[in-house]
Structures are given as structure tokens and as C-alpha cells.
Amino acid sequence: MKVTLAMKPAAKSFIPIEAESIVPKNFLAGTDLSVWRGNRELRLDEVFSVSVEGDAGRAEDVEVVLSGETFRLKRVGEYMDGGTITILGDIGMHCGNFMSGGTIEIHGNADGWLGREMAGGAIVCRGDAADYCASGYRGGRKGMIGGTVEVFGRAGDFLAESIAGGTVTVHGDAGDMAGAEMHGGTLVVHGDCRRPGANMKGGSCYVYGTAQGMLPTFRKIGTVQHEGHTLIRFTGDIANRGKGNLFVKDYEYLD
């Protein structure tokens, strides 16, 4: 089953739309769903031109395609457990929160909190991801616990903050505090980033570029070969009695 949701131009607004109902399994029962804009509840067809092709008996067979000005559309794919969501443009905050299965593909950029506290499944973002990509949430102990997030562009600050499982790969640069409070899982940054692995307890963080503002609370172990890169291995964060592994191609401490 393929559900196409084309955002109506008239629905464009500065007020974000909360669209946690846009999850593949919800379309098994039809398209009679609603979303919220501020304190107003809107029917799905008030915001989108909805078209459905074919039918499906389980969430895995549902593909949702979103097009149009979707940059202010929040919480798409929240708690999703199967199926596919394809976003042709940009997507708003909190896309793929808590998802446990299925695939989300974003052809444009993603706003903050992409794949927050995700437990499984896969997210691919062809553009850039903003801050707190694949991270935890305010006050929580664990962020992402499983699944994969791959960003082909750059990522913002606090990438994979509190990650406890799963894999996050960023092909461009990442911002400040990548992998902060990491407990487990794997973070790979192909470009540069700042202060990686702050206060990490466990897990592995790879930086194939330069780690700027490298924290002094990591102990240098030696060099290792990893997927064709010669990387310098550190362990830490000693300030937190951590046993994490931090691998960097190059690093510079703050002056």
C-alpha cells in the first residue's frame, strides 16, 4: 500500500503541525486521521492531498510518501514499528521519536531531535540533520538504544547524546558535544567535530576527521587500524570513571 500525502500550500503556517498520527500502521485502518496545529485539531485531508494506492494487511507493507513544505511537520513516525516513510523534502523536529522498526528516508534536511530515543529500525537522511540527532531527551538517562541513523550531510550539536545502543553514522561534519554522555553503541563521524565523547561511560566513538577542543580527560592508548583509517585510540571519560573508546584521526586540545 502506498499512501501519498502532499502538503497543501494553504496549510503552510508558522505554527508547526504535530503529526504523530503519521505512522504506517495507522493507515491500515484508513486515512481518517487528524493532526494538531496549535490548539486546533485538523483532519488529515485539510492539510494534505491524500491518495492511497493498493492495500495492505500489515504495517510492513505500507509506504507513506510525504511531499511539499513539510519543514514544520513535527513528530512524523513517532513510535513507528514497521513500514516505510519517505519524505521528499525537509522534515520538522522529532521525526522518528521512539521508533522501533521500519525505515524513514528523508531526501532533504531534518530539523532537531531526529530519531530521538529510537529503539530500532533505520533512518536515512540525505541532507543535514540539526541538533540532538539520535539523542536522548531532557533529564533522561538513556537516549537511542538500537537501530541505525545515517546522515549524509552534516549534523548539529549534541549528536547521539546519551546513546546507549545502535549505530549513528554522519558522513559530513558534526557540531559540538558529539556523543556526550554516551553509554554504549557506536558513533561514526566522517568529518570533524568538537569535544567528542564528553563524559562517556562506554561505547565507541570514531572521528575520521579532526576532534577539535579535545577533552583532556581521555587517556591515549596508541594507534589502531580501522576500516582503512589509521586512528589514535583514547579511553575515557576518566572524569566519569568511563570505559568508552574514542578513536580520532587527529585531535587538537584547547589552547
Binding site: Y137, R138, G139, G140
Partner: protein, 566 residues
Amino acid sequence: MTELLVKNACVIDPLRGINAETMDIAIRDGKIVEEVSDAAEVIDARGMLTLPGGVDSHTHICGTKVNFGRYMSPEDMRAGRTPRRGPLHSTSGYSVPTTYGNSYRYSVMGYTTLLEGAMAPLEARHTHEEFIYTPLQDTMANTLFDGNWGIMEAIRDGDTKRVAAIIAWTLRAVKGFGVKLTNPGGTEAWQWGKNVSCIRDPVPYFEVTPAEIIRSIVEANELLGLPHSVHLHCNNLGTPGNYTCTLGSLGLIPDLNKKRQTLYATHVQFHAYGGSGWKDFCSKSEPIARFVDMRPQIVMDMGQVMFGRTTTMTADGPMEFNLYRLHHEKWSNHDVELETGSGIIPVIYRRKNLVNSIMWAIGLELALLTKSPWQCLLTTDNPNGAPFVKYPEIIALLMSKKYRDAEFATIHPDTAARVPLPAIERELDWYEIAVMTRAGQAKALGIQDLGKGHLGPGADADVAIYPLRIDEVDPATDYQKVIDAFSRTEYTIKRGRVVARRGECLIDGSNATFWVRPKVSENYDMGKDPDFIEKFDRYYTVRMRNYPVQEEYLNRNRCIETEARI
């Protein structure tokens, strides 16, 4: 004039000695009266269990400490979300909910009066502001005097009357209700990076011991004729082997008051530990309960721990630092100038953890081993042992050996060798539960004469009707029915109005705050004492004239005037 008649209620009212009599309760203008006219609105209770409104004599629901618990645990606000509905505000949070969350949930459980366990005098305004937004319960605040500089100096000089005078001035200024001592001397020592290990250790600089502080303030409390006794959180909370310190502290207390206890020892579960370390940690509830049995001048509350996540918060700063070193999670520490301090950390009590399992058993043992229910009241030291929404489960555990055994089978297997709980057969009855949740608490707080905790004519019309017939339910086996009934009243009536019905709050009420103004002679008016004024101006960051909480901060002002003997 509004009138209400509750018919066919199965009333248990321990303060009047009524045990399960079917009767009618007449209410006029928020008070219970002998009879009402035929025009009165009628509620048919159909033989359901009807008790005076619940009283919680030790809970942390309002004030800077609680609010900081909210600040530092945004994840707690993910739980317990309810939307705004009619006159009701939205709520959120589990262990440290919003004020409305606290108020609505307490009301649904039939509670109508709450005592905030620890208010730092300097930060009293915040507590009173939050009281206003706790609309469905009458409130009062215990005021912290454990590390008060002026008081410690007066104790060093052996001047108990001056101690009383400072308490009188402060209670009046901050609109406080009772005197709370939290780890007396320990929090002051913590400001020097130290603690006191027990009641004989001197406090740095002041050179007074916790024993002197406790004894002197207990005497001062009686000189002022306060409704409540001194409310003590003993030294050395939460450390293995601390029961000797607790017994030592309780042993200091003479019997000074005929009407009520002379000391209220709070959350005693946390103070009834044996062993020399965590390896041989065990329960010492038996010696404590036996000691209390022999001393009518002491009342304690359980401080029951229940499994799950919660937030610990106390003025006992050094203890929270020790907890932080155990858990290595978030921690907040706070200093309140010349008065006290505080600490907060979130915790999770786990069934699979031996220490936590023993703690769970100790609270229940204290309640079951203490002969008189008037001397061991039901609390969790909300939210330190567990959020108050666990009270119905605790009631069921106390009433059913079968339920205790079923729970015991799920906790750490080594617990049985460390605690007497499996050997205790006692099952409390409805009357004893009514004592432990309202009558005993009202008596201990000294508010029964103000119309709390009973249903006699003239009392405040606070009534809780639970959807349960005690002649049909056997609590020993039907414990789930007990939990369900105590979780959700059929009707909660507050000041003569139905405020909650079957789990739904109905109105946005308006609370009353009780506070105490002891009348002291001119010579002991600290507001005119040159030495007190000089010290105040020199050490506080606040001007003395800005310190008192204005009466505008009190919603419905219930001032209790007492005749002090100074």
C-alpha cells in the same frame, strides 16, 4: 446556607471511638452538625466505608526543595500527564508532580489535610505560594530549625527561653506550623564539609551536640504550647547500624505533654538499620518498635519504601551526598544561609536489590510490630520512600499476610535471613488503618480540636467515602479490592463540598493554611531584641523587615494563637 446529608454511611471515627456504625452525617456550611433540614442535598453512601478526610502528617509537596526536584527531573514530567478539563488544570509528573497533580491525586484518595514536612524559613514564601495552588487540601508547614545559628548560640548559653523566643518569632514570621529538626546539627556541620555521626558529636564552631539541640528544642516547643510536638528526622539517616543512634535520640525525650506525644519521629524506616556495613545490613525494627511501645511520649511514622522510581529530597544535605556517591547520578545540594540546607537525588528502589528489599520490609515491620496504631502512622515520606499514590498498596500489605507473602516471594531471596517480616502474622483491621491514616495523624499534629481527623459536630466537613463494604470484603484475601477502594473514593467531601467523585476531581477548591502565632511576653519578642536584630542585619542577605511572609500569601488564613509560658 448549604446543607448536605450523607445517609447510611458505615463510619469508622477513631477519635470518637466509633467503629463501623451505620449512621448519617449532617453537614451545614462546611461544618458537621447534629442535623440538617429536609432541604439538604442527600448522598446515599449505601453502607460504604466512610472515614474522616485523610491527613498526611509528613509529605513533601510544596516549596523550593520540591520544585528543585521538578527542575532537575524533566523526565519525571513525562509520566502522569492529564489534560485540562473543566475547572481542572492539566497535570504531569509522577514522583514530583505539579502542585495540581499532587492535590488532585491526594483528593481522589480521600486526603483533605497535608503537612509539608520541611520548610526552610528563608524560603517560606515559595512554600506558601505553592500551597495556594494545592487547592483541594488544607495545608500546614513544618519549619526547619535544625541548624539555626541564633538557636544554637542560645543552646550553647543554656538559655531555653531564648530558644523558644526565636522559634516563636520565626514561626510567626514565616507562617509556619510546627518545629522540624532534620539531622539536627548535621546540616550545619555539612556547611563545613562535615557531618555528625550521632547525637554526641559537637557541631563545628557552635560546640553544641545534637542531643542538646533536641532536648532544648523539645522543651522550648512545650514552653510555647505549640499544637504539634517537635518533628524529628534523626541523625545518621540511611546508614547501616543507625538504629542505636535512633534509640539514643528517642531516649532523650521526657513525657511533657498530656494531650499528645512529646516527639514525632519521622520516617523511622530509614533509621532502623542494623549491621556494620552494606554487607551485613539488616532490619532492627524490633528494638525500635519495643522501645516506642514503652514510651507513650513518642509517635513515629513509617517512611515506607515501595519499589519503583522516585525522588529523594531532604534538608539532610550530607546524607544526600552519601546517596549520590552510591548512585552516581544527578545530585543537587543547597545551602540556606543561617538556617539549614538540602539535597535532592532521583532514585530507583529495586526488588532485586537486597538493601532495597530490606528497607521495604522494615517499614512494614515497624507498623506491624508497634502495638498501638496511634504510635506508628502510615507515610512514605512522600516522595522519599515512594510517591503517595502507593498508600493504598501499603494499606493492603498491612491488612493481608497473604499479600505480604506474595510480594515477599518476588524480592531479593536473601532478605528472609535479614528481616523478621515473614514471621509476623498480624493483620491490621479497618479501625487501625483509619487511625494510621487520619485520626492518629490529626492527634499527633494536635489539630483534632481544630476539627480535623474526626466527624464530630463542629468538625470540618472533610469526609472520604470509599467504594467498599467492610462486611463483604475480607482484606486478608481480597487485597486487590482494598487497593482499588483506597485508590479511588466514591466521594471525597472537603469543607462540605463534593470535590472528587469516582476518581474525578470536580471543582477547583481553595485551601486553608494553618499556622501558629505563639503569644510571648514583651521581653521575649525577638523583633525588639537588639542582639537578634544586629545578628540578622549582619549575616542574612535579607533585611529583617522583608523577611516575614505577608498574610497575602495565605489563601484562607487559619491562625492558631497559643499562650506561651515565656
